[in-house]
Amino acid sequence: MKAVARLMLAYFTGTRLLAVVTAIGVVCVAGGTSALLYLPPLVAQNGLPSRFTLAQETAITMLPVAGMLCVVFGASLMPAMLTRLATSHYTHLLPYGRAKLLASALCTVALVSAVASATASLYYLRTPIPIGLVFERAFTVSLLTYTLLYIVLWFMGRSRSIGKLVGLAAAIAALALPLRFFAVPSMSLVGPWIACALLWAALAAGFLSAPRIAPVAARLKHSFVERFGAASYRGGGREIDFMLGTANPWPLALGQVVPLLIAAYFLRGYVPVGFAPNEAAPHPWLFFVTILSVVSGAMTSVAATRSRALWLRGHWTREELFARVERAFWASACFPLGVLFVALVAIGSYLAMPTKALAFGLGFVSVGTALSTYLGLLITAAVGWRLAVLAVATMLALMVASMYVATPATPWTTIVALEAGLAATALVFRQLAARRWRHLDWMLCRPDSTTRAAA
């Protein structure tokens, strides 16, 4: 128990930033809860006489939600730390190490879910709906969503592109499942509970029996390779592509099909909350395709580290190096982007996405790739808080904009302005990246820094 508690403490307070965020989260949740419980009812938004201004009421209402988000983010060290410990010798050596690590992960997800559900339940305190029912419903969905969310973070921390794709599939599920759940409020809780139980049972089985499974899996892999031959390299053969990892874009391009199909499955017959079936609501398909468009671009985050060998061998100036790296990544990104174009139009048409959104969506997806490409190229040292904030803000802007583009009522001029604005931002990022590469310091972007950034 002591080890589980200590691990959880480290997940929430392992870094200074996370410790501060967690502390803010706890204060906001506690303060917001007290305010909602003990202050007079917040009724200004209903036009009733209130002792607070509308702004004050909004702040009090949002306080617990902000706190809850901080607590969720506060535990974001868990996937990276769990991966590090689980893939090290410690899992073999520490007494009951594997079981305690797993228990710490489950307890953390349960704790975060409990905070989220309690926060959600707060808003139903003064309604006739039984609070226990709200908590149970919110807890079930939160547990499933946060489990998937942390799995996403874990897979995204893996360096292999297959890990990123599995992470994406889980991300799509994490995003689509609650949408579907809230879209159909009468949906039974049995499904999410079974999904949760199966997910955790699979995680536990895999994690606890890894020492026994690993040799068997290695033997199977070896016999498979002996029988069918090892996967051969099918890249273009240029040294720059070998070193940057852009030589074979097909696995990523074709691998996107799996998360796309998962998302398409969940989105059949989807109606956004608060909209009638025939009402012009934003179509979520572009949102999911945009998420994928970011991934192919984000691979540039390793470019600076990998370019060190090119600097020694290529006899290029740093400016020339940047130009060649940029070209190599764009040449590689064209393949996944092509697949996304086809998927956007083909599956989008099947999901009855408006033609205008389809047409503008093509440009939007390209802009998404451009933004993430240059954000990745901006990483020329360990990711600091400024770059982290910039990346999060850009991604949020991209997600929100995708919903606007996919809303039939949005005028085309607004869409053009949005896309032009984002494209201009991408160009600014490019200029910034080019400037950073002119002073690229490989002592600041060693492989371990990149690993940390990925984690």
Binding site: R6, A10, A80, H89, H92, P95, Y96, P211, H222
Partner: protein
Amino acid sequence: MSVPYAAARRLGKAFYGKTVLEDVSFSVEPGDIVGVLGKNGAGKTTLLELMLGFSPPTAGTVEVFGHPSFRLPGAEKARLGFVPQQDELVNQLTAADQIGVIASFYPRWDDELVNALSRTWEVDLRERIKGMSVGQRQKLSILLALGHRPDLLILDEPVASLDPVARRQFLEQIIDVAADGRRAVVFSSHIVSDVERLANKIWIVKDHRLYWQGDFDSLKDSIVRLHIRSARALPDALAVPNALSSQRNGSTATVVVRDWSVELHGELAARLAAEVEVEPLTLEDIFLELHR
């Protein structure tokens, strides 16, 4: 009779038909400080990792504290300490947090020892691990392996990244660990002088086998360099039994032999009608001769 801390019988490991270790038998008793020597790829790390139960053997058995190492019970793991070749620390944490996390897994943790060693080794516990040098990280790894005062401490090339001062301090600490006679240490190293200074037992891994095991004095007595001088030219084939290498130059020859004994000395001198001088070798010389 007490159970040895670690014991292997005809231990072997193969990966996909490729033998990495074969027919290895040994025993580690309390008080033993075993130095494991071998060239790169000889099988040292595999041997240590089989002892630790990281992987099941493909032949024979290896037991730790009387249990098969691959199925070592959780409670017995608290008696085991390990320092890997490459540290496995969590970059984001401070040294104190990393120690706190690892300490929480053990029922007994010697904070006093860890604090004292961190001061002696100049490890700043408030520093974040990602900012530490390779040597500092290695020192922290060693602290983590010593904190629960393990009965059996296994170290895979622990001093490779340490400066000479830290290396000496570390070696002294290892001697302290084993001084009470209740603990045992098994460590591999390429720094032969460290093994010579520290170990009371030596294992030499060669060609995937435990080529030699025993105390240093027996090894020195067993493998020697012979200087043979004769009044006439020596024969082309000296036919010295168990010769590892030989160099002949007319009436003189230099031969390195193993399993040397006084009887062989007399027999050789008589057969060659020569004066045979025996030169004891340092451990480094022995190691080099064995791998010539």
